[in-house]
Symmetry: C2
Subunit: 382 residues, 2 copies
């Protein structure tokens, strides 16, 4: 399969590119390298040292014998997107190329506007380019479980069957996103759904949970193939951030009570899920939504789990309840359905103490790269 | 009340400004005059001759003795918005300043991207400026009934009470918009709802139906105060367009079967509704949604009604079923609830033959200004 991976230099995109390449697919990466610039802006860097995309691709060729094509440019520039699609003729387009941090989108007005324009216009351009150049190409779009918010009923996969005043319909599941970032994904979902109906685009929206872990089989092979991982208050997410905090002797920063329950998955399952979507494409005109995660945890549960593993490793990791910088419920009902990917064959890697200790060990190895000044949350929702 | 009217040079905005000014409120208009440029782009013009905003405001001062302030600039430029709010200190901000044509948003990629960026960024800037400068200001935002699409259940006012697997919640009503324009309004609604929760913004989202008519008490007084009205395939809407087509001897252009049912209201009721919203503001942090219309009609029903009135006036107005340029259901269930504005005191002007004949007479008076070449639909959804 010819598969184009937008955002292929990032945390999920790079291991996805290697994973598909390793399985014999023709892979192209499309990226504007902006994730690396955000590190500079925020005074942080990946915990793990990462090489340039050129070096990464060269190392992959060297170690695997396989080619990955590279298109450097921005999805918000339409001609770039169209030219890349015309040249590569993708059968599947995996779209990770968005600003993906809620706190980043909440820094100030410029960051909010940037996030929404960047994400919405990038996705619009992808939709128009698919329509114009490769109308049968399957769009695999990364959404987020955060689109749903925390309703008091079960979260279904994209649609909700509603009975109302004696009539019935199946409607898009109502969205209550948490931040300007999460909102941008909701905007994308609506735009994509419309083009499926109007133009017959085939699309899968993967509403992904919080991804933890770092290592995949392909990334481990060579130092030059290492994946990035974030620990800072802006791009670092729960669990990964806790492991790294434990490693550098920082308190585990729980926002508020920590009763916030979210959906999580191992990065290896991200790759599996995207593969399952790609190998089982949506029908023409179908807007398919999968909830892409394997387990639910409250943030406090995760902190306690990391603290426990750290203790077994002879380290003390205290939990600090910070004043919550976000506007969110700290105690709430949360039950999200996630059977569609299981039905397609997903074999989950459930969270293990081994993975946590492995993450802590990685963090200890690279603790000198950690700038503790950027761990605290810097963006406030209020 | 100090009320700021963004888009105050447009079809709804200008009569709204006069209406509030006439009732003794302090009014400021904020506009970038872009609506007039779109006429140039499309080779059309208002059926009625309209004067420049400066002349309009001068004529209003002359005839009523009242001042209207004018801020010429673009909502997508934040400093402009913030400065205007700092100077005027609005208590209510009526936001009409969006690209409001579905066909315009469907012309091509550039128009789609323009519509979404213009509308979404403009509204984000208004939200940030309210937060930063006038946090108690009540945002009265014009949405559209088209946000809901045509679900097979009753359309409620913004929220839907859902029972699901033995649990209950009240959720944002699911949206199934028809075009990139309608999508932009859905994006706005989500953004505004979030800022109400996160920042305590007070907001009323007026999901307006299709507006017909043209004359309001204030606009009639002097030729220089005349309102604009559109007949072209891009900005002209059903009913108004039919009346003008009848006047110039053009077939009444119904798209497809014409069973598409939509919500409609008289422009005089637009003003009433906005006034009711302004005088009964949303609470702090409340995101309130009103369905702003008075009657439902199918497009074919309206064409038949106009045809009938034209016949009584001695004219023949044939109905032509054009191939539908849009992707939409031509037969469907449609029942939208609209009691909240009635409860606040709205006294509807229901559609009368008199209004239709009056519109046709106005169109006959200005028939020389009509360019029949721009009546046919030019943008296709496919």
């Amino acid at each position: 399969m010819r598969i184009m991976i937008a955002g292929g230099d990032g945390f999920c995109g790079w291991p996805t590119a290697l994973y598909f390449s390793n399985r014999g697919h023709e892979v192209a990466i499309l990226d504007n390298m902006i994730r690396r610039k955000w590190d500079e802006e925020l005074g942080t860097q990946s915990l793990t040292p990462i090489f340039s995309l050129e070096e990464r691709i060269g190392a992959w060729k060297e170690t695997s014998g396989k080619d990955i094509r590279m298109y450097v440019g921005d999805l918000t520039e339409y001609d770039f997107v169209e030219n890349a699609m015309r040249e590569f003729q993708p059968e599947a387009f995996v779209h990770y190329a968005e600003q993906r941090s809620a706190p980043y989108s909440m820094i100030d007005r410029q960051h909010a506007v940037f996030t929404q324009v960047n994400n919405v216009v990038g996705t619009l351009n992808v939709l128009f380019a698919i329509k114009n150049i490769v109308p049968d190409c399957h769009l695999i779009k990364l959404g987020t479980m955060g689109e749903y918010g925390t309703p008091n009923i079960d979260i279904e996969e994209g649609y909700l069957k509603v009975s109302h005043k004696g009539r019935e319909d199946v409607l898009p599941y109502p969205k209550q996103p948490f931040s300007f970032y999460h909102l941008s994904k909701v905007h994308d979902s609506h735009n994509i759904m419309f083009t499926c109906k109007a133009w017959g685009i085939r699309a899968t929206d993967l509403n992904q949970g919080v991804v933890y872990g770092l290592w995949t089989d392909e990334c481990k092979v060579d130092e030059r193939l290492y994946n990035r991982v974030d620990y800072d208050g802006v791009f670092g997410t729960a669990l990964n951030r806790f492991c790294i905090q434990a490693a550098v002797g920082h308190d585990l920063t729980v926002y508020g009570k920590g009763g916030q329950t979210r959906a999580f998955l191992d990065i290896r399952d991200t790759l599996q899920c995207v593969e399952l979507a790609a190998l089982n494409p949506a029908d023409k005109g179908e807007f398919r939504v999968f909830n892409q995660f394997t387990e639910q945890f409250s943030v406090l549960e995760l902190a306690e789990r990391v603290s426990e593993v750290a203790k077994q490793m002879g380290m003390e990791a205290k939990i600090a309840h910070l004043q919550n910088p976000r506007v969110e419920k700290e105690e709430h009902y949360y039950k999200a359905i996630h059977t569609k990917l299981i039905d397609l064959g997903l074999k989950p890697h459930l969270l293990s103490d081994e993975l946590i200790s492995n993450m802590i060990e990685t963090a200890i190895r690279y603790r000198d790269r950690v700038n503790v000044g950027v761990i605290a949350p810097s963006a406030s929702w209020r």
